[in-house]
Symmetry: C2
Subunit: 350 residues, 2 copies
Amino acid sequence: MPSQTPIGRKVTLNDIAAGCGVSRATVSLVLRDSPLVNKLTRVRVEEELRRQGYVYNRAAANLRRRTSTSIALVLNDLANPFFAEFAAGVDETLAAAGFVTLLGCTGESPAREQAVLGSLLEHGPAGIILSPAEHSKAHDVLAVVGRRVPLLLFNRELGGALPEFAHWDQLMLDNQHGARLATEHLIARGHRHIAFFGGHHDSSSCRQRHAGYVEAMHTAGLRTEPYWRIECAPTRLDAAHHAPALFAGALAPTAAVCYNDAVALGLVLGLNQRGLHPGRDFALTGFDDIAEAALGTPPLTTLSVAPRERGQQAAQLVLQRLQQPQAASHQTVAPVQLIVRESSCPPLTA
Amino acid sequence: MPSQTPIGRKVTLNDIAAGCGVSRATVSLVLRDSPLVNKLTRVRVEEELRRQGYVYNRAAANLRRRTSTSIALVLNDLANPFFAEFAAGVDETLAAAGFVTLLGCTGESPAREQAVLGSLLEHGPAGIILSPAEHSKAHDVLAVVGRRVPLLLFNRELGGALPEFAHWDQLMLDNQHGARLATEHLIARGHRHIAFFGGHHDSSSCRQRHAGYVEAMHTAGLRTEPYWRIECAPTRLDAAHHAPALFAGALAPTAAVCYNDAVALGLVLGLNQRGLHPGRDFALTGFDDIAEAALGTPPLTTLSVAPRERGQQAAQLVLQRLQQPQAASHQTVAPVQLIVRESSCPPLTA
DNA sequence: TCACCGGATTAGAACGATCCAAATGTAACT
DNA sequence: AGTTACATTTGGATCGTTCTAATCCGGTGA
C-alpha cells in the first residue's frame, strides 16, 4: 500500500474567483484562454492568479475531461546508456507535445515488469512505451495492460504467441540488415572465414542479427561452419571468457561479427589475453555504437542505431496513435548505419 | 484470464457496485481492504473486480484525499550514464515505496528547467528531486516551485543568493575531498608538478574539486602554477582539444587531476595524438568512475561516487522529508572513494 | 415493549477542475 | 417600449474516488 502523503492546501479556482469577484467558470475560461472572456476581466483574473501563486491542477482537469497528459515509459534497464539516450529522446519529444513521462524500470524481471505496469496504469497514462524485459510474455503484458491504453513495443519482441486482438505498435531496429552490412563489410575487406560471436539464441534481436550474418555469407557464396557460432551472455565478461572458443574448431576464423558492442569489447580483452591484436591480427564488428565503441583500442567498427532519435521516434509514434486510436497497427523498423573504424582490418593473409 | 473489458468506457467503482448489488462505498472499502467489510461480501466484490477488469484510478483518489503518489525527477542530462544510473536508483526506491517517478530533462538549459518544473508541478508531485542545469538560479527555481512542495537539490548548488526561507534539502558529492584524495595519491606516487585539467570555473562542483586539489598541493608544500589550471567544457571532445595547453607553460606537469572521467578520457585521446602514452609517460585521474573508466587504455584511476546508491539515497531523503515536512533541512554530503587503476603511474623521472 | 448495542452498509457531500444550458447586460433595431 | 442580437458570465452537474454521519438489522437486557 502506497504511503499517504498530505500536501498543504493549494490555491484553487475558487480562491481566485473569490479573490476578484467572478465565478469559477470564468477563471477556468481565462486559464484556457478562451476568446469568450472580456479583455478587462481577463487582465484582472490573470493578475489575481499571479498574486495568489496559482498552480493548475491537471489531475482534476483530466478527471473531469476524461483525458490524460502522461505517457508511461517502461524500460528493462535504464542504467544502460543506450536506453538512457532513448529515454532522453522520448522525454524531449513528449515534453514538447505537453506530455509528461511516467518512468518505470523493470531490471529485466518480468515479475517487476508486471508490477511496474500495474502501478503506472493506476495513474492513467494515455499510452505506454515498453521495452520488455527478457522472457516477458505477451499474454502477461496483455493481462495487466488490457486493450484500453495503446502500447508501443520497442526494441524487443514479446515471448509467447501474441493474442490476435493485441495489435500493438512496434518500433524495432533493423537487426538483420545491420548484421548483414557488417558481414558484407568484412567480406569486402577480404575475409572468408567469419564467425558470429556472442548473444543467446532465445533473444529475438540475436536471432535476427545472426540471420543477417548468415544471409550475407550465403549471398557471397561463403560457408558458415557450426563451430563459428559461439553463444555467450551479452556481457563483456562472459564474452572475454569465450574468446578461445573461436579457435577451437578445425578452421579458425579471421574475423567475427559480434552480437553487440559489449560483447565485442569483451572479445577484444579476450584476444589481447591470447596475445592477439584485434584490429591487426583479427577483425571484428560490434552493434549499437555505444560511447565506448569509438574510444577503445582499436576503435570499433559497429552499427549506429541513434538511440536518441529512436526515442523521439517512439514518442512520435505514440502521439500519432493517440490521434488515431483506430488506425491499423504500425510496425516500424528503424534503419541502422554502419560506422567503419579500425577494428575491421583486412585479414593478415590478404 | 484476460480481461473482458469492453472498449470505450472505463470501469469504475459504480460499475462494480452495480454488478454485485452493493454500494460504491463498500467497494471502495474492499479496495483498501478495510476490516469493516464482511468476509462474504468482500469475496463477492473481489470476484466482480476481476470479472470486469477494474483498474484503480489513483488520480481520482488523490484528488479526493488531497494526497500525491508521485515524485518529480528533474535532471540536467539523462544521457549521461552517471545520471542514468542515478535515475535508476531513484526509481527503484520510489517504486518500492509505492511512488511513481515523473521524469523531466532540462538539457542544461535553465529556461527549459523552468518549463519542465512548471509542467511537472501541474501534475502535483509530492516532492521534487532536482539536479539543476548549469547557471540555474535559486531565485528562479523558487519562483516556479514555491514553498509548498519539498525539493531536494542533488549534485549541484544553485546560483544566486538563496532566499533565506528556501531551506531545501541537499545531497552533494564530496567533491573537494575526492579531488584531494586524487591529488594526494599522485603526490604519493612521486609527482611534484600536477595540473588541474578541465571544467569551467563557474560550476560549483568544478570549483570544489579544484579547491581540493589546491588544498592537497599546498598541504604537501607544493606550488601550483596558474598555467596548470586549464579550463575546457566537460566533454571528451573539448578536453582532447585542450591537451596541448598542458605543455604550453614554462614548467610542464607530469600528471593531471581531471575534472571528471569524460575530460580524462578526452585528455587520453589528446595525449595519444601527441605521441604520449598516458599511464606511462603521463599520469592522470578522473572523477565519477563511469563504466568506461575501467575499460579504457589505460584504465582510469578515478573517484567512485556510486550513482545508483546516490539515487536510492536521494529517494530516501525525499520520502523522509514527506514524513516530516517540518523537520530542519538536511544537508548531506556523500562520500567518494578513490579507485586506483593504471592511469596514475609514477613519473618517468622518478 | 423498547432502548441499546455492535457489525455491516450506505447516501450524499466533498476534492478541483470542465461542460452545458441558461441568465445577464448592453446596444441596436423595429 | 419592445424585441432582437450579441457578448459575457454563471450556477449546477459531473468526472471517480473517499469521508462523514447516518442507517439498518438481529440480538440483548430491562
